[in-house]
Symmetry: C2
Subunit: 222 residues, 2 copies
């Protein structure tokens, strides 16, 4: 059951986490030699790990010139959020139509737990990261579209997480985000697909606006 992962996979997942956490800031060069020194082994698995990162758009590779952690311009970030807005709105609409009653009940339970942890004042950090992502993840899964799931969770979310960590954002007021989440689940429970989509789009739009102001402020300080 231990499922022995290959070295390339281990390096890949460790680097993924490191990049998301900002331990390897955008623009950092990833030379193969450097990875060998850090993880051990030979260059072959390191190359493979870098290629996997490239496939997820976490690094950009230039032939004969190595790989660097992606550094997104504000415009590119907006493009990504624009796509995310569309796809996750779609996921929410489909989830309203396709989720089982059991799944919806679980989602409601999740929000209650979130509400409790916020009321206990410990929600600040918890809700930002794990809670919010778990909520979105369940809805995406509820869409029951494997490709949609792959695109959102496989590609876009890594980038989103990366910029969240770096700006240490998430919604500034977890209370408001929770309220939005509750309305969304309400719409899903009522099988109101169009409303669910609309609410999700607004929710993500708010998230983007929030991220933009933080980035602008960060820019100002720099």
């Amino acid at each position: 059951m231990a499922e022995k992962p290959t070295l390339a996979e281990k390096v890949f997942s460790e680097l993924t986490i490191a990049i998301e956490r900002g331990e390897l800031p955008p623009g950092t060069k990833l030379s193969e030699q450097m990875l060998v020194e850090r993880f051990g082994g030979s260059r072959a698995p390191m190359r493979e790990a870098i290629q996997k990162l490239e496939a997820r758009n976490l690094v950009a590779r230039i032939p004969h010139a190595g790989a660097r952690v992606v550094s997104l311009s504000l415009d590119e970030l907006k493009d990504i959020y624009e796509v995310r807005l569309e796809l996750e709105g779609m996921a929410c609409r489909l989830a309203a139509l396709r989720m089982s009653d059991t799944e919806i009940a679980e989602l409601q339970g999740l929000l209650q737990a979130h509400a409790a942890s916020i009321a206990a004042e410990q929600g600040q950090s918890y809700y930002q990261s794990a809670g919010d992502l778990d909520f979105h993840y369940r809805i995406i899964k509820g869409s029951q579209n494997s490709r949609l799931h792959q695109m959102l969770c496989g590609d876009l979310y890594h980038i989103v997480r990366m910029y969240r960590y770096q700006t240490s954002t998430g919604h500034k007021r977890p209370g408001q985000a929770l309220q939005e989440h509750q309305r969304i689940v309400e719409a899903i429970a009522n099988r109101d697909a169009e409303l669910a989509e609309l609410l999700m789009r607004r929710h993500i739009q708010a998230s983007l606006t929030n991220l933009e102001t933080l980035l602008a402020a960060q820019e100002g300080r720099a």
Copy 2:
């Protein structure tokens, strides 16, 4: 200007074409040794080519067990089209808002050329492949969203092309497809984003329906 591509890239692009054309049918095993015999060189570049194919979802790799050309179930194909419907509808809406007048004029010119080639009875095969794809490509580019462009052209279209070649489809009646294209461009020229999106969605929906009937027929014969 000759831009010396690496061996891995050459193998990758040749394999991409071969898979799209159905020369390597779904399920075909791609062993590294086999690629060495076919393309020359050593195993390392072949591995890299296979990984690039995996990144584009053209092959599926299982650790220690090799890579096979993807074989999609009908459900998976529907999922892909569902996503394409959404994203390309979005692209069309954005294109209506963002394309320059010049680009729109070029698009209109393209359709006139198509109309002429169809009238000359040579459109049958031409319009199916290059013409249709060119039309969609320009609209996607017109959305001016780089990530959207990458997702549609980089990932989804290879799969779509692959299944088109295999079923030798495209729209059964190029005349009708052209008419739909003309209406879409009309809406874009009027900057009517919502109508443009709606028409594009219908256009792709029709394309999926068409593909489904062809696959069903193919299934029946097999």
